[in-house]
């Protein structure tokens, strides 16, 4: 079923290796980094909003105490 005769054959891509792997490599990198950044942003956002909420709750407590 597999079209290639050897692994080096596969890497060479019939002389088009640079172009083919340059395309696939950059695409893979983008599709790896984009979700990582999106998930990290979501986590920092949640941490920030939680912090703000706690700060607001503390401010409310102070106001009612006075």
């Amino acid at each position: 079923m597999i079209y290639w005769k050897s692994f080096s054959d596969f890497l060479a891509m019939g002389g088009y290796g640079f172009y083919v792997w340059g395309s696939f490599g950059v695409t893979a990198l983008i599709m790896l980094i984009e979700p990582i950044v999106a998930i990290r942003n979501q986590k920092t956002l949640i941490a920030r909003l939680k912090r703000q909420l706690r700060a607001e709750a503390r401010a409310d407590q102070r106001n009612t105490a006075v």
Partner: protein
Amino acid sequence: MKDRFNLYRFASPATFYPLAGRLIPWFTALAVIFGLAGLWIGMLVAPTDFQQGEGYRIIFIHVPASWMSMFIYLVMAFWAAIGLAFNTRLSGMMAQALAPTGALMAFISLWTGALWGKPMWGAWWVWDARLTSELILLFLYIGYMALTAAIDDVRRADKAGGLMLLVGVVNVPIIYFSVKWWNTLHQGSSINLTKSSMATTMLWGMLLMALCFWMYSIAVALVRARSIMLERERHTDWAKALLTGDEK
């Protein structure tokens, strides 16, 4: 009418947020499965192209990325139209969540196109109708993101951005039909409803990769939509309940 009511329920961020959270792993899994199957067929099984040799294999990401770059723009324009017509909260968030993925798809399309063009045409870039209109699409995405980011009031940002999306939608048919309307270096479409110019394994590889890109885009856009939703709705009861509770 009960079904209809239920459908509208998901248009509210309070129900959409947890639903999106449950859907993300499924879309991610589908993207991985379709991606592995598509790469297996496209890179290992599919035969060589008689004209372009092995260089043609760039098609397995170039075409799906180009399709997605156009399709995501159309979806964003759809949300913009809904938002402008009915003033719905969710539509602007959806459009903003999709924009970076659309821009990256347009970039992948141009990048892989350049790497394909160099060995086949002898040039990384030519100012031809297909390439130029795709470049304009990338600029439209960047312009939309810059415009919405520059306006502090989110509802006004959504309106201005939505208007820009609707004006720019004219570019999508121009990209799609550019290879027919003008003489261009870019080859015509590889897939036709009636007859296809590709071998079946190649076609399968490309369709599986297109499904992978589709599922990927949905998954990453949902992650971003959740962030936008939570940030905008932080003063509402559901967001506060979620943030004070132990849910992620």
